[in-house]
């Protein structure tokens, strides 16, 4: 079987840090946490991270489709010249907010609503194909909770690496919804004061919205800044919403990623953690990381800046990480204090990174790690 290298030809993100890479870097430079504190009258009760709401201006599309189309528009110069590009989408809830808005009228039969066309994930695929026609080919929407876009990336990577396809678009997207805001709060996982990932004072996650896109290609590496060198996913087989406290399968995920990349822990300069800010997640993740890397690696969570974007988080955080490392910096929020371990980054630093890892962990004990080489 053919073994191709998999390059990240283009990428961008939409998050509370901004629309596109330039705005994102500009806001990262300010080192401010753009968390939104709602008033009592607002439907989302707890602090959260919102994207520029003008992106949601009125038209027929669901908000997830609006984000996906904007993401694609920002990188389309890289891919529109091709035909039949497979698209691998990752989302956890895509479109559920719109269903919440019509649910009462729908259940009382006051309106006619094409539920099968608008509620489910086919809506995004249909909207993308409607705009880009035969530029977009095969489609797959992965939905494995918070590791969703990790799975999209993993499958695209496998298909390209093994020569089945030459290029792929990997997209992660999720929007805020009452279901996730109230649901996570019911599990006592939402911070009522604002998330503080990887700190001793962490008391939960803050939800975010947005997405990320990565355009992957094999072949010519000219002009490419980064390469996927390893990727792995497995299952804890432990609990439906908590990680295995032992972290055994998270460790295996990291180990197999390093093995596939042909590198050792000492080659890794930085780990972009899943780092949700919940007590259990961060404890297990840091414990896992320390078994490999001792104190010789830098760890941070972008959720300090953008919140937990759920199924979008892998793609969104990878795109932001690639942007900041291109800038030779790893950013941290200005008022970061009380790191839970000495490997946690406490302030913005200048850093040349050659290899980094990105972790994502989802409900059901669904683990994902990717290794990236930065040029």
């Amino acid at each position: 079987m053919k073994r191709n290298r998999v390059f990240i030809r283009d990428f961008t993100s939409i998050s509370s840090l901004g629309v596109g890479i330039n705005e994102t870097i500009s806001n990262l430079e300010k080192e401010q946490c753009p968390i939104y504190i709602p008033t009592d009258s607002e439907i989302f009760h707890y602090p959260h991270f919102r994207i520029n709401q003008t992106l949601f201006d009125s038209n027929e599309l669901i908000n997830c489709s609006k984000i996906v189309l904007k993401l694609l528009e920002m990188v389309e110069k890289s891919f529109v010249k091709y035909k039949n590009i497979p698209i691998f989408i990752g989302t956890s809830t895509g479109g559920i907010r719109e269903t919440e808005e019509v649910y009462r009228d729908l259940s009382e039969k006051k309106i006619k609503y094409p539920l099968f066309k608008r509620h489910f994930f086919n809506k995004m695929v249909t909207d993308v194909k409607s705009k880009y026609g035969d530029t977009i080919g095969e489609f797959y929407t992965f939905s494995t909770a918070c590791s969703s876009s990790g799975h999209s990336l993993l499958q695209a990577y496998k298909f390209i690496k093994n020569g089945l396809i030459d290029r792929a678009l990997v997209v992660g997207v999720d929007t805020l919804s009452l279901t996730t805001m109230i649901g996570f709060d019911s599990l006592k996982l939402v911070s009522h004061t604002g998330t503080k990932p990887l700190t001793t004072g962490r008391d939960g996650l803050s939800l975010g919205e947005g997405g990320g896109v990565l355009f992957l290609e094999s072949g010519d590496e000219t002009g490419v800044d980064s390469e996927i060198v390893g990727c792995h996913s497995n299952s804890d087989g432990y609990h439906i919403s908590s990680p295995d406290p032992d972290g055994a399968m998270q460790r295996e995920c990291v180990e197999k990623t390093l093995q596939e990349a042909g590198i050792t822990p000492s080659d890794i300069d930085y780990i972009n953690a899943h780092g949700t800010g919940t007590p259990m997640n961060d404890e297990v993740e840091i414990k896992t990381i320390k078994t490999f890397f001792n104190n010789k690696v830098i760890v941070s969570s972008l959720k300090s800046f953008i919140g937990h974007t759920l199924g979008a988080s892998t793609a969104c955080e990878l795109a932001i990480t690639l942007a900041m490392l291109k800038n030779n910096k790893i950013y941290q929020v200005k008022d970061f204090s009380d790191p839970m371990d000495e490997i946690v980054l406490t302030k913005t630093i200048q850093k040349d990174v050659k290899y980094f890892l990105k972790n994502s962990f989802g409900f059901g004990g669904n683990n994902f790690t990717v290794g990236i080489k930065v040029k």
Binding site: S92, I96, K112, T141, S143, S235, G365
Partner: protein, 296 residues
């Protein structure tokens, strides 16, 4: 060696959990007679669907999670290898749990919802429970494209079989009142579940032939001429009949009704029903028709 075989198949629906019952649907000619498709009465739940789950956790599991567990236990899970990938294809996922949550929030105006309902609402919940109960660490991916999930399956399978290693496919839908709320394009969705193992690089089995423009184009290929059975979705079934085909035309519709993942069941039927002759498996994809050959 460009074929893939399918084995360790388990199918259940609210009509039956027994293979003999589905074989009888075939031998009685019901799969090939759309006038008799309404003969079978389906219910919204499958009774004793949790009978092979020996843990109190089953009280928390939905029909969707129990259904996937059931067919994994009776099918592909029996010979599961530690490095075998498991892929769940589902159009609607844990839709009844999601419905309960949205109802609590929007109708009952609850400020909190059942924590169990919430962590059960994600699409990979069935495989989460399966790996937890069985203490497994396999790769588990869930692909869900709503009414287009059958097409995602075809896209995925035609690529994945070119890679090394056996892998497991499971699929299913549960019933939910939520699914009855679409009055624009209503669908009859009742519970149905399947699991099987795919073994790539075989001399016989299935292979993807391509995307065809119409039935006439399909009828011109040798694989059509060599086939005894044509297995189709409900719409193509009518078109095939009108086109006066000399083949035996079958559909899995009496087993899965409007489940958008019908092609996942359809592709397995020639193996499940132990056909000795060749078949074609067809699925409508927009203006095109996707075609697999199954060679025995």
């Amino acid at each position: 060696m460009n074929f893939s075989s399918i084995c360790d198949i388990s199918i259940i629906n609210s009509y039956s959990k027994e293979k003999e019952a589905f074989i009888k649907l075939f031998s009685d000619g019901i799969l090939e007679d759309n006038k008799r498709w309404d003969e079978i009465i389906y219910s919204n739940t499958i009774e004793n669907i949790d009978k092979n789950i020996n843990t109190p956790v089953k009280k928390r599991m939905s029909q969707m999670s129990c259904g996937i567990f059931y067919v994994m236990e009776e099918g592909a899970g029996k010979n599961l290898l530690t490095d075998e990938e498991i892929y769940l294809f589902t159009s609607f996922g844990e839709i009844d749990t999601t419905d309960k949550i949205i109802k609590s929030i929007t109708i009952d105006k609850m400020s909190l919802v059942s924590p169990t309902h919430f962590h059960n609402s994600v699409h990979n919940t069935p495989l989460g429970y399966y790996t937890i109960i069985k203490k497994l660490h396999n790769y588990c991916g869930t692909i869900s494209d709503g009414v287009l999930t059958g097409i995602s399956f075809i896209n995925f399978i035609k690529n994945r079989v070119k890679l090394d290693g056996t892998f497991v496919v499971t699929s299913g839908e549960e019933y939910s009142p939520f699914l009855d709320m679409d009055t624009v394009e209503p669908k009859k969705i009742k519970p149905s579940f399947i699991s099987y193992r795919i073994i790539p690089n075989q001399d016989k089995g299935f292979r993807y032939l391509g995307s065809f423009k119409n039935l006439d184009e399909i009828k011109s290929i040798n694989e059509y001429k060599n086939a005894k059975y044509i297995l189709t979705d409900k719409i193509l079934f009518d078109e095939m009949y009108k086109s006066k085909s000399d083949k035996i035309i079958l559909s899995e519709y009496p087993i899965v009704l409007d489940n958008p993942c019908g092609v996942i069941f359809r592709l397995a039927l020639p193996f499940y029903l132990s056909f000795n002759e060749n078949s074609l498996v067809l699925e409508r994809n927009g203006i095109n028709i996707e075609v697999f050959e199954v060679k025995n």
